[in-house]
């Protein structure tokens, strides 16, 4: 399983990678990007099974990247992991085609449960 992980914070990418590795994802199967534009460029190289993305990032934000990815791929799971928790923002993400949503801050258990839902344990 190949995963695209997009967040401008290296700290948050490290936390999410730690969880993915515990689920059995190989280090080489996680591709990182620190903004939506770089994330989209990586996505366009192809081969991804899931996208994890932050919302507020420089250059291109996660919602814009999500819309761009959806215009290219209607089916790939896209999980938004963000501080944005207001109803209007969540609705905007749903309307843009997000598959799932996790609000920061999150416990390790909450992150694990969310990723377990989308990453098969038999990776």
């Amino acid at each position: 399983m190949k995963i695209l992980l997009v967040d401008d914070s290296g700290t948050m990418r490290a936390i999410q990678k730690r969880c993915l590795f515990k689920l059995g994802v190989a280090e080489d199967d996680v591709v990182e990007a620190d903004n939506g534009q770089t994330g989209l460029a990586e996505f366009e190289k192809g081969g991804f099974d899931i996208v994890l993305t932050d919302w507020n990032m420089p250059v291109m934000d996660g919602l814009t990247m999500l819309k761009e990815i959806r215009s290219r791929n209607a089916d790939i799971p896209i999980i938004m992991i963000t501080t944005e928790s207001e109803r209007a923002r969540v609705v905007a993400a749903i309307e843009a085609g997000v598959s799932d949503y996790l609000v920061k801050p999150y416990t390790a258990d909450a992150l694990n449960a969310k990723l377990e839902k989308w990453v098969p344990t038999s990776v």
Partner: protein
């Protein structure tokens, strides 16, 4: 200015430290800040816009910054480096984000965090803003949150939405 908004930042900071770091923090002081000098050595700043314009500054003592980053990254840090700065910025992002969600009526937008380090650095709020300052005790030392903003006049809201320069 109604200063009850500060409670949202206190609640959010408490939640972030508990959820992400597994530690309890305790509010120990509350005041209006007269000096541009932040309380501690590592400051993360996030701009606020929307129905208000201003800033939130989370000021970490060095040990809190090192320990907080260490807890998130499962690493022991001896000095404030790029990784510690990133972790501190992200903690501040989450604190501001949680408070923003509780202040829906203010239609707040948050900037990306900037982090300033150094013992004698100064952070100036807009000229007529006197920020509210909250001090906390943590298991690793002290931290503080300074929040100050001007409320945007109704007639200027459309201009703010269009991201024009507005004199308040």
């Amino acid at each position: 200015m109604d200063v009850s908004f500060i409670n949202h930042f206190i609640e959010s900071a408490t939640n972030v430290f508990d959820t992400m770091l597994g530690v309890q923090i305790t509010r120990k002081s509350l005041s209006l800040k007269d000096s541009p000098a932040p309380t501690h050595e590592v400051s993360a700043i996030i701009g606020l816009s929307g129905r208000v314009t201003g800033s939130v500054v989370v000021s970490f003592s060095t040990n809190v910054a090192l320990k907080g980053a260490g807890e998130m990254l499962l690493t022991e840090f001896d000095d404030v480096n790029a990784e510690v700065v990133d972790a501190v910025g992200e903690l501040t992002n989450m604190i501001a984000g949680g408070a923003k969600a509780a202040m829906d009526n203010m239609q707040l937008s948050l900037g990306l965090p900037n982090v300033v380090c150094g013992k004698d650095h100064k952070i100036f709020f807009p000229g007529n803003v006197k920020p509210v300052s909250v001090g906390f005790d943590t298991p690793w030392g002290e931290m503080a949150i300074d929040v100050g903003f001007n409320e945007v006049l109704e007639g200027n809201l459309e201009a703010v939405a269009a991201q024009e320069t507005v004199g308040v």
